[in-house]
């Protein structure tokens, strides 16, 4: 009961954020948190539900960002066309990875994803004619909705909020569906699942495609918000951040990545306020270690466990 009330309050707060948040800087932090929520949820599909870790997820994010930016800049496409195109392109890349890494599990799958991301990153730096290389793509136009340009922060915030909510819904439906149950079965015991007729390959590829497409959407939203795309979107540190969000928040749950995304987007910014620049990253590392130590299953599962234990 209490949980419901709190969730309702949180939802209400999020929806009305532009009204009560004191400064546009916080709205900026929430927008970034929203984009990372989509990313975390997408990674969670792979990691939490299939048990396969993708350490190249920044590649799908970057592909989405570049696709959207290039279509808008070079072909003058509207944002509402560029976004789905970004999703499709990223999804296609996810399909490629899924089929490539068909038979690989565990550490090997991880390494293929890292290598794939590495190659894509190098292509973005070196293929000057397409991506403008390290010089990046400045001036990505903001979305237009009829007569309005979604250039203001509150407008963009609602766009991102809608995107995040939609992503959550998609994941929610997917997880509760037959597909979701098949994925969990595969995660828990693959040979057994296969023995009852669940085609591992088909479901893993499906999970990879959806996961990548969602990351591509996040990339598009990022590109049109920051209005500048450069090869740094492929930085390994982005993937690391996503992984932290999912695992610390609680993989295999739906709320976990959301909380992880908000927490770990707000944390570096809060550290900016609280700690002198020399100590910020060190503090970040220490917080991470401490968090993992006290909540090794992630925030949400630990909370759920505690609540269950209190029931008796």
């Amino acid at each position: 009961m209490i949980v419901r009330v709190l969730l309702a309050v949180a939802a209400l707060a999020l929806v009305t954020a532009p009204a009560w948040l004191v400064s546009p800087y916080h709205l900026h932090v929430l927008i970034m948190a929203g984009i990372f929520t989509i990313l975390a949820l997408s990674l969670n599909l792979l990691l939490g539900y299939t048990g396969q870790l993708s350490l190249g997820h920044a590649a799908f994010f970057g592909i989405g960002a570049y696709t959207s930016a290039l279509l808008a800049l070079k072909l003058d496409w509207s944002f509402w066309l560029a976004l789905p195109s970004a999703a499709v392109t990223a999804g296609f890349a996810g399909w490629a990875i899924g089929r490539l890494a068909l038979k690989l599990r565990g550490a090997y799958f991880v390494l293929v994803t890292i290598s794939f991301a590495g190659v894509i990153s190098l292509v973005s730096i070196n293929w000057m004619e397409l991506t403008n290389g390290p010089l990046g793509l400045p001036g990505v136009p903001p979305p237009e909705l009829g007569p309005w340009t979604l250039r203001t922060k509150p407008a963009y915030y609602y766009l991102v909020l809608a995107g995040a909510a939609l992503t959550y819904l998609v994941c929610h439906r997917l997880v509760r569906s037959r597909i979701g149950r098949a994925l969990v079965a595969l995660r828990e015991n693959e040979p057994l699942a296969e023995s009852v007729g669940i085609d591992a390959t088909r479901y893993l590829v499906l999970a990879a495609v959806i996961s990548a497409a969602l990351a591509g959407i996040a990339g598009s939203l990022y590109a049109h918000y920051t209005r500048f795309v450069s090869p740094e979107v492929f930085l390994f540190s982005y993937t690391v951040t996503m992984v932290i969000m999912v695992i610390a928040g609680g993989q295999g749950t739906l709320v976990g990545p959301v909380i992880g995304a908000i927490l770990f987007t707000a944390l570096p910014e809060a550290l900016r306020e609280a700690v002198a620049w020399q100590w910020q990253m060190l503090a970040y590392g220490v917080v991470l270690i401490v968090l993992v130590f006290f909540l090794p299953r992630g925030i949400v599962p630990s909370v759920a466990r505690w609540r269950r234990s209190r029931a008796f």
Partner: protein
Amino acid sequence: MLTRALATFVVVLLALGVAPTTGDAQAPIKIGVIQPLSGPVAASGNYVRMGAEIARDWLNAHGGVNGRKIELVIEDNKSDPKEAASAAEKLIVRDKVPAIMGAWGSSMTLAAMPKLEEYGVPMVVETSSAASVTKRGNPWVFRISPPSEMEALGLEQYVDKLGVKKADFLAVNTDWGRGAIQAFGDMLKKRGVQVGVSEFMEQSATDMNAQLTKIKGTGGDTLFLTTAVEQITLVLRQGQEQRLQRKVITTGGSSSPTQLIKQAGAAAEGSYHIVFFMPWFPEAMPDGKLAKAFVEEWNKRGHPFEGLTEGFRGHDGIATIAEAVKLAGKDEPKAIRDALWKVSFTGVNGPIKFDKDGPAGKESGQSKPSIFVVQVRDGKVALPDFLKK
């Protein structure tokens, strides 16, 4: 537990929101500084910061600006464009700085630029070299560092005296390196110099033997090198190991010849360097007295001597902003922006005055910094023969 977690979360959010602001008339003038203080180029970012701090202390020692003290609000952009944009937003919105200096690398600067337009706050660019920085039509950008094209022009007069007939390029694979190859290549071709191969190295690469082996096979007489001092050290050392015999000219001003001599030793002998500050003979700078005083103060604070070739940028950036605030009479962003067009004084590098650059109607400001060439001879930095009068 969930309640506690949520409560903490809400409290944190509120804490970020309701920090009190001081409305005192004698409050200090805040200037934002965005630099890469961690990550692979942390050294350079910190040198710029040190130079900025010297400028601040000197200004405050002389009564500040318009009777108020200068305060630097320093943010780390972690060598990540996303962080540079966040830092700019935080400085403008939370700290309410009326002007910023930053953000070192061109990608970082480009990422922060939309925020300048969004909120109407000017930024003085102290290091970035990509042409696009001042050509984007952003009227809030003022650059005191030279774009690669200007650098190449600065070297043009010496090309014959240096005896460059066939040149190869080795550059770091970033906007800076690529821009330099483009600019210097164009300049050399205009003067009839043959251009050989252009090789690249990743920013974090430590082994350049493959590239050097290729370069060795071209038969050129000069190697143009554009990267930071660490990679230059490695390239020179590995070039020595491969017995690469040719003239080396480094561009970009980040070669820190003193550090190079220390770390590359004999391998650095004979190399030429384009620099924007000559701390070895400060009297030769346009304002010799100021340059000498800067070097002395830097040494007094125990900062590494090799950092001077980059640290001066921090000084000149802050001095430029302070000059604009003085002319404007108040620390209000638009007034400072307008005043920047009127600024005309001499910094450590030389005269600083902004010309219009970029699309008509929304020009950015670009100053014409002084460009120098030095050479490493007998384990010391000296003026090249053809410059000695």
